[in-house]
């Protein structure tokens, strides 16, 4: 059994195509692993029967020679993706009994390419959080936890924990301000946020529409490339989807990065960042230099304003996006005598504290008298942040930054919302600019917790991003498995 779990996505895919293993065997191994690691709380819903049915179909396709690129690969799906006839809750009580009658474009793309659906993965409620602690169904535990349970990061905490714990070969995530990259860093795996518009948002529960972007969480950069190959694509159902085709990322993996210019932004190495992270960040710089890249110090002067901008824009959009959860057409309802009372009780009960906090902030910054001072101001500074990236990409090809200011923290440790928000300090700027970013694990800190670094590319340069990330991955050669993983 353990041999199956040792295979990464690329390895499993080759073994399946060579008929060395079957998808049913592989899927069974993962269903087993889910059971063994159930105490981590990564899964909200396990679809064992459905997965085996899909695996069976995949095996037939492999036999018939009609296999898709992800044929027979068992993956987990963040609960933000609507899955047809499979409960989708966005980790919220307000959607506790919602069964979509439709399938999100991104997950449909994955099934079309042969992937097998293991189940739905926990996340922060409506993807609002950086620790997975706002999930209605409770915490997810980082498989790297030592004596005390640690946070897997968030909001794609279930996705990151499952991939790290070997209870999914890969997982989908969504990233609004760092929700793929930060948990990937905390859990010692790879997390890729594509360019805004690369993956369709159709069928993904919306948090902040101008920022939300789906992406993969995987064990390796190659796996991320394979996943994104399938997930990405123009979708006429999403007006913000980009009609720009993406070449096969696998063909870029092993190009040389000789002569590529890597920018080192000075704003990403200031106060509050842990010594261990700085150490690995510096090693990463050197690895890239040794691989032939040219290291260029750069500046993105508006970096420090990214978090304040984000904490205006994202809640503002969320306050409007979440208005549809009103107890009328789906989801939970608290009965009351009047319509307004029904709304207030339903929403007051259905949403958790963090979601309510963000709806309140969002409503406030859009309200009459405050719009210009907050929302409009934030949109203006957002332009400056985007221009920072445009300017810097005139001189360099990629940026290298730490993924997070700290490694994983203990659950329950950060009670104050603002302290929590600071987790996303290095991931939010790329989200605001819409450019792609990837976090890859490069080592363990002195407490034995994974350290991630982030590479950022210009819009739609996922091929180059994958190439540099793969180069760095080879240098770092991080291949440790957490104690909490299935064996």
């Amino acid at each position: 059994m353990s041999d199956f779990l040792k295979l990464d996505l690329l390895g499993a895919s080759i073994a399946l195509k060579n008929k060395e293993i079957s998808s049913v065997e592989l899927t069974n191994a993962y269903i087993n692993a889910i059971e063994k690691t159930s105490s981590l709380g990564a899964y909200l819903d396990v679809q064992a029967d459905y997965a085996l049915e899909m695996a069976n179909r995949s095996d037939k396709k492999i036999q018939q020679g009609t296999a898709g690129p992800l044929e027979g690969i068992p993956i987990g799906v963040k609960d933000m993706f609507c899955t047809k006839n499979i409960k989708t809750t966005a980790s919220s009580k307000i959607l506790e009994n919602f069964y979509p009658t439709y399938e999100s474009t991104v997950t449909q793309n994955l099934w079309n390419d042969g992937a097998v659906m293991l189940g739905k993965l926990s996340c922060d409620e409506f993807a609002m959080g950086s620790s997975n602690e706002t999930a209605a169904k409770g915490n997810v535990i980082n498989p790297w936890s030592k004596t005390n349970p640690m946070s897997p990061g968030g909001s794609s905490g279930g996705s990151a924990a499952a991939v790290a714990a070997r209870s999914a070969l890969a997982a989908t995530g969504t990233d609004t301000g760092g929700s793929i990259r930060q948990p990937a860093a905390f859990c010692g795996i790879t997390g890729l946020k594509p360019t805004y518009g690369r993956c369709s948002r159709w069928g993904i529960v919306a948090f902040s529409s101008s920022l939300d972007q789906a992406g993969p969480l995987t064990r390796t950069v190659s796996d991320a490339a394979l996943m994104l190959n399938s997930m990405a694509g123009y979708d006429v159902k999403d007006s913000t989807s980009a009609n720009i085709s993406m070449p096969d990322l696998m063909t870029y993996l092993d190009n040389s990065i000789k002569g590529k210019k890597i920018g080192i932004p000075k704003e990403y190495t200031q106060d509050g960042i842990s010594q261990d992270i700085m150490k690995f960040y510096e090693s990463s710089i050197n690895w890239l230099k040794d691989s032939g890249a040219e290291i260029v110090p750069v500046s993105l002067p508006h970096t420090k304003y990214a978090l304040p901008v984000y904490y205006i824009i994202a809640p503002a959009e969320a306050s409007s996006n979440l208005a549809r959860y009103d107890g009328v057409r789906y989801g939970a309802r608290n009965e009351a005598a009047t319509l307004d009372e029904m709304y207030e009780l339903t929403r007051g009960n259905g949403f958790g504290d963090e979601v309510k906090r963000r709806i309140m902030i969002g409503t406030y910054v859009l309200s009459s008298g405050y719009y210009d001072a907050y929302y409009l101001k934030a949109q203006k500074v957002r332009r400056l942040i985007k221009e920072d990236f445009e300017n810097v990409f005139k001189n360099v090809d990629y940026l290298l930054t730490p993924s997070t200011p700290t490694t994983a923290f203990e659950l329950g440790q950060k009670q104050d919302p603002l302290t929590m928000y600071l987790n996303d300090i290095f991931t939010v700027p790329a989200s605001l600019a819409g450019v792609p970013g990837i976090s890859i694990p490069v080592g363990l800190d002195s407490s034995g917790l994974p350290v991630g670094v982030q590479l950022i590319a210009n819009s739609f340069d996922e091929p180059g991003l994958i190439n540099v990330a793969r180069t760095l991955e080879k240098c770092a050669d991080f291949n440790l498995i957490p104690d909490g993983a299935a064996k």
């Binding site: 518009g197 101008s210 789906y330 989801g331 009351a336 009960n349 203006k380 500074v381």
Partner: protein
């Protein structure tokens, strides 16, 4: 215009909660008020940035709004539309009585 300065108090919280149709329990109001003030104070850093000649940015996509052709491609899925509803009656969604 853009000098950010605001202190949220409980009446403001009540007003915003009403706009957002959120029931906030009495015992949580003070904490929520404090949180909101902390966040608003944090985002007030934006005051430092001179944005006098900056156009607001609403979308990072470089493309134009795509237009679809006027064709009926959807609908007649009443069952699917109503399937998740807490209360329905003869094809309608049902809510507590609204007085106009």
């Amino acid at each position: 215009m853009s000098s950010i300065k605001s202190i949220v108090d409980i009446p403001t919280v009540n007003k915003i909660a009403r706009l957002a149709r959120l029931e906030i329990l009495e015992k949580n109001k003070q904490n929520l008020t404090n949180d909101l003030n902390n966040i608003l104070e944090f985002v007030a850093q934006l005051n430092e940035v001179d944005t006098s000649n900056v156009e607001p940015l609403a979308s990072v996509t470089g493309h134009k709004l795509p237009l679809r052709n006027d064709e009926v491609t959807d609908g007649n899925i009443g069952e699917l539309v109503l399937q998740n509803a807490p209360e329905t009656s003869s094809g309608f969604f049902v809510v507590p009585k609204v007085i106009e």
